[in-house]
Symmetry: C2
Subunit: 128 residues, 2 copies
């Protein structure tokens, strides 16, 4: 994918310089993959997307804010459900296209009411 | 994104029916986001992509196998470095476009030699 700038006037410059797109929104804006992990239990809660503004707002507010590709809009997690995610820290991966949020969730992460979006289906794997 | 079939003759049909693309490879094949988590420590190790064949091979061999978008090829994690990931279980998320692999890693997950690809940069977040 061609180099794309994660430009946002309030985004941490150190972070901005390291970001690389994992995917693009329908309007072409670059997105990184965001993984939310429960800071206390270690459970992986959900995977979503973030654009530069979602990253900047998450950093500034301490509340996990994602970008919805289907709604093409920012999405403060829990804004309507109350199940917000307070962000303890945010780590960038080695190639700059994914962030890990360690969060303290106020309630279930999944819209189905399950604690984790990964509680849905576990498939068997052969023993190696 | 338009419906896309994750067709593969050895892919678990229950899994195949639930999969939805998170992104597409350069040749158009649908991909899901894959998150690898250390089954013992709970650390999130890396984020990568899987196509239908990567999922089928992971399920069949018990070794984490990803799809590299840059090399446009399957990639058995650790095939050259020896740092394989033995998969304990594989969970699909609620919207079917991400999988969580709980793995037992034979060595560092990151090509930099760090245990996790997320050990690279931690950015501060405001207290909420």
């Amino acid at each position: 994918m061609a180099p794309v700038t994660f430009a946002h006037d309030t985004l941490d410059p150190t972070l901005a310089a390291r970001l690389r797109p994992a995917a693009a929104a329908p309007d072409g804006r670059p997105l990184v993959t965001a993984v939310a992990q429960d800071a206390h239990t270690g459970r992986v809660l959900m995977v979503a997307w973030m654009d530069a503004e979602a990253l900047a707002r998450t950093q500034a507010t301490g509340l996990a804010t994602y970008y919805s590709r289907s709604r093409q809009a920012l999405w403060v997690k829990g804004e309507t459900s109350g199940n917000t995610q307070r962000v303890v820290d945010l780590s960038l991966d080695c190639d700059g296209d994914a962030v890990l949020l360690r969060v303290v969730p106020a309630g279930p992460a999944c819209h189905t009411g399950l604690q984790s979006c990964f509680d849905t289906l576990v498939v068997p794997v052969a023993a190696s």
